[in-house]
């Protein structure tokens, strides 16, 4: 069971690295990559505790997270392509064409 603890620690570290990436990155694509790290940490936690408790619903929710991550990546990248086409930038803090 100590391996489970190690994996829980890995998942929290993954989550915190993702938070660091979201906070520091300026490129919108890199922020999206960091969000993928956060989602993966959540999935990993679901699977670990589902395995420890023998609950099949945990894996089902991990599947849902993966599906939602796919949707999120598709929409996010479409928005970034649209932003690049309209504002000629991929830096998240230069996207201010909606500012009055």
């Amino acid at each position: 069971m100590s391996a489970m603890r190690l994996m829980v620690t890995v998942s929290s570290a993954l989550f915190c690295l993702g938070v660091y990436g979201v906070l520091t990155r300026r490129s919108a694509i890199a922020i999206l990559l960091a969000i993928e790290l956060i989602l993966n940490a959540a999935t990993l936690n679901f699977v670990i505790f589902g395995r420890a408790l023998g609950n099949p619903q945990a894996q089902a929710f991990a599947l849902f997270i993966i599906a939602l991550a796919a949707c999120e990546a598709a929409i996010g990248l479409a928005i970034i392509i649209g932003l690049y086409r309209n504002a000629k930038t991929i830096w998240a803090d230069q996207a201010r064409i909606l500012r009055g």
Binding site: M1, S2, M4, R5, M7, V8, T9, V10, S12, A13, L14, C16, L17, G18, V19, Y20, G21, L23, T24, R26, S27, I29, L32, L33, A34, E36, L37, N40, T43, L44, V47, R51, A52, L53, G54, N55, P56, A58, Q59, A60, A62, L63, F64, I66, A67, L68, A69, A70, C71, E72, A73, I75, L77, A78, I80, I81, R85, T89, I90, W91
Partner: protein, 175 residues
């Protein structure tokens, strides 16, 4: 401690090191293409952890959906916007690195501190079988399952609509 336990711990440690080092690369490397490739390593490492947790189906889905689909999308987006990144004179540096590092380290500390009090059940309940997972998906969790399908349709239509060029013919690439 038998040989199986030791091998399991060694594999878990190896995958943990792989996941963490490539995750650090994902958030630190300047070159976005390399960051995307490191994300692929993270995803493969997590799939390995899934296999160790006897969730083979999830590992398969992870490789198929994440490495196969999402990573391809990301690489496409990186290449489509490569010209902007090439003018790296205008590329701003990372912002507020020190506060962000302190915040995430504090977050990690809190998470580990809270995790200390977790009591893992000592009895091994055995792996979750794929049959039970499938039954769960079409009985107990059928509503979330259907909602996810709806979200998929909405996301597909939305992504096509957002990325569609305003003019039906391809926008002139020469500019």
């Amino acid at each position: 401690m038998d040989i199986g336990t030791i091998a399991f711990a060694a594999c878990a440690g190896g995958f943990a090191v792989l996941v963490l080092t490539s995750a650090v690369l994902v958030v630190l490397v300047k070159n976005l293409f390399r960051a995307a490739l490191s994300l692929g390593l993270v995803l493969l490492g997590v799939a390995g952890l899934f296999i160790l947790l006897e969730a083979e189906f999830l590992a398969f889905v992870q490789v198929l959906v994440y490495v196969g689909a999402i990573l391809t999308l990301v690489v496409f987006a990186v290449m489509l916007t490569a010209r902007e990144q090439a003018q790296s004179a205008a590329a701003p540096s990372s912002r507020a690195q020190l506060p962000a590092a302190m915040a995430s380290i504090a977050l990690f500390g809190i998470l580990t501190f809270v995790g200390q009090s977790l009591v893992m059940p000592s009895a091994d309940p055995g792996p979750v079988s794929l049959t039970r997972l499938g039954e769960e998906l079409i009985t107990e969790l059928v509503l979330p399952f259907e909602v996810i399908s709806l979200v998929f349709v909405a996301a597909l239509v939305g992504a096509i609509l957002l990325a569609m060029s305003p003019k039906p013919p391809m926008p002139s690439a020469s500019k």
